[in-house]
Symmetry: C2
Subunit: 445 residues, 2 copies
């Protein structure tokens, strides 16, 4: 068979890898639904004018063209969505008559970005988003609630612990204005590079855009503030004082940040800390912003990010808070570093052996009896010697082989655990495999 090369940036997994990915997707979905989030699925495409609003992301859009259109209308005017927020905003406008606010939605789909694939960036990848969108008001406790749902979901996965780092745009923006920084979004994008290029690198960038030394010092001093509840507030007030910024102006942002960090740590002690360097590239955040790192895998970047925004919908009135898990980035790491492994690559728990081709219906009957009780079962594709049939089960990773009895159709026979070699008399109307063998499981590697 000819070799086919993989496409860079478009990850695909082996069947065993897909079991791991599916476990992640199912677990997230289950946790989101336990918290009353409603699933929304949007089409993969949006009109280009809706996608290209954001200048940073729009160069990454894949536009669609009908390959052999009969007319000049080959360009469809459509592009693949690059995140799940733009389509969700459009969905809320389109389906508002069917929604009750505050609307709690989750959405797990692939997104596409045409950027150069590098350091774990994909061109096609899964995102898992939750958002709560209110009408006119949405209290700060919802910020913490959304973060806690994500932490609960991630804590159910067979991966290391996560740490969440949180900032509040209100503090940052007030402070930047107080020290004379005008290009707030641009400066935030520079600060965002801190983990990559360090304070000296950021200093250079800021100087390059004409910021004065005092302002640069301020920006870097603020970015250096971090810690859990009480601690960061003291540090922060010190920095504010030094810069001559009136503390009162910052009280709202500080109170929110303190509340969110405390609420998360009350639920998951030691998980959250304030970090005034967390910037998030996107300019629509207006309050809490979040990044989440996997312990020991900080090089991977944030695996779960998001924040509070003024309004989901243009024109205002729909304040919201949303977070997004980069599922493919996470699964890629889980697989490449064997953080998690599937106990087997097939759903099948039992292979029913076939004595000879005439007796295949008896094996089919046994398979039906097992399936009716939820046990995934295949019938052997050939009536080869039993040794060969056991070998096939072994190659596939199927833990049990069933040998039909003389009168197999009544469900009697013997079942062998091919790992231990143990073989027992059994009836397909009653026998069940041990719970841990019923379905493939995903465990720490």
């Amino acid at each position: 068979m000819s070799r086919v090369a993989p496409l860079s940036g478009f990850p695909e997994w082996t069947p065993a890898g897909r079991v791991v990915e599916r476990h992640v997707l199912d677990t997230l979905r289950d946790e989101f639904e336990l918290h009353g989030f409603v699933e929304v699925e949007t089409r993969a495409v949006e009109p280009l004018d809706r996608l290209s609003g954001d200048s940073e992301a729009s160069k990454e859009i894949y536009a669609l063209r009908r390959l052999r259109a009969d007319d000049v209308d080959g360009d469809s005017g459509l592009g693949l969505h690059f995140d799940l927020t733009v389509p969700f905003a459009r969905y809320v406008e389109e389906f508002s008559g069917h929604l009750t606010f505050p609307f709690r939605r989750y959405q797990i789909q692939k997104v596409w970005r045409g950027e150069r694939p590098q350091d774990g960036r994909f061109r096609e990848f899964y995102q898992a988003d939750i958002d709560v969108v209110g009408r006119d008001v949405l209290p700060t406790y919802v910020d913490a609630e959304v973060a806690i749902v994500m932490i609960r979901a991630l804590s159910r996965l067979p991966i290391p612990k996560v740490k969440m780092r949180i900032n509040n745009r209100k503090i940052v923006e007030h402070f930047f204005r107080a020290i004379g920084v005008e290009d707030i979004d641009g400066t935030l994008r520079n600060v965002d590079k801190l983990p990559k290029i360090g304070p000296d690198g950021v200093r250079e960038l800021l100087a390059g855009k004409g910021l004065k030394v005092g302002a640069i010092d301020g920006v870097l001093a603020l970015s250096a503030v971090s810690g859990s509840e009480g601690k960061f507030v003291e540090e922060l007030r010190l920095v504010l004082g030094k810069a001559g910024a009136t503390a009162e102006l910052f009280d709202e942002g500080i109170a929110e940040l303190k509340e969110v960090v405390a609420a998360i740590n009350a639920e998951a002690p030691g998980t959250a800390s304030a970090d005034l360097s967390i910037a998030r590239g996107l300019d629509y955040y207006t309050g809490s912003v979040f990044e989440t790192f996997l312990e020991g895998h900080e090089d991977l970047g944030s695996i779960c990010s998001g924040g509070r925004y003024e309004s989901l919908v243009a024109g205002g009135g729909y304040p919201g808070i949303g977070m997004s898990i980069g599922v493919s980035r996470l699964v890629g790491r889980m697989l490449s570093q064997n953080l998690s492994v599937a106990t087997r690559a097939v759903p099948t728990a039992v292979l029913v052996a076939v004595v000879d081709e005439e007796a295949r219906p008896a094996s089919d009957s046994i398979a039906a009896l097992l399936r009716v009780r939820g046990i995934s079962t295949e019938v052997s594709p050939s009536a080869a010697k039993f040794g060969k049939q056991i070998q096939l089960a072994d190659r596939k990773g199927i833990p049990f082989v069933w040998f039909p009895g003389e009168d197999g159709e009544d469900g009697t026979g013997e079942v062998k655990d091919i790992r231990s070699g143990d073989q027992v008399v059994a009836n397909a109307n009653e026998w069940i495999p041990p719970a841990e063998d019923l379905k493939p499981r995903v465990e720490r590697g």
Copy 2:
């Protein structure tokens, strides 16, 4: 809020509609896995040269272009897949080292076709495929097995019964050759139009391409043969005899068709019949071909089609049999004609009321106690009067409202079924809703 128009051909559902779609997807997946099919998920894109092999489908391809590429390389050379067979064939080549044959795979993903949206045709839609691919040989009983898995899966859905119509390409091709028809694929495509334009219409098409009256009579006579096991064979031999075709040449095809129809009817009496007019547009089928219709909704066309092919992979050696359910077509009909309805649009079983904002943590505690036992729970977004909070539950379709007791954190309180008005004392460590209220269910409409 501004009105946003839906995009023709790109279906999206309300949250309640998505519950129905999700039920279909989950049920199919469950049934496929019960039969030992392994999930494969491929990227959405393939290189254009791989997609454009088949002349019929290639004009429907959406090609991808990076919208604001810095270089002339905007054209990515990639297109969205238009089915799940082309990417599966490529996956088998690429991952063959990880697969054991016969390989049983299922794949449930969206596909895209740029054709004009009309009569229930979508441009973006879900397909659910199963295939069994062997090495060198794959017995005929697998044809029936794959069809039976599909029938079992469809029979678990809240939809009318299905009828499967089956043909065998070997009979058709031998017969066409025997009566002097040379353009077999083209003639099959004409025959495929029978349900739409009737025998007279097809006669006209065949005459237009220069077929002699005798050959046209033969094609139409063959296409008129149908029925269950014994019956169609007699009819068929009559037609063969009239056309002067030697029956022996057809024995293999007739035997296969008879076996497949009989095996399916043994499992699901009255479901399968032979229909020598079933053509399937695609030219890669070489044996059994299947179409499946929903009783009372034959106008929808086939909702589950497929067939036997010589080899999945170019160069031969990988014979297979596959079928594909047109999930979006089916779900679209289920929703538009209310064949199936969700009992509610939200996962939430319980809304925990909030007495006042200071007592929110007590309500959060109750929610946590319920969730830990798998009960989807939300906490009321406001501490409004209880009447208002009940109203919110009602609007969302949440069946139960929980009122925390004096000391709510210990789990005590009262729970009200807001449909009946019944309210009972309960403890969140023990109470469970009736099984039918635990999750949204999907029922016949």
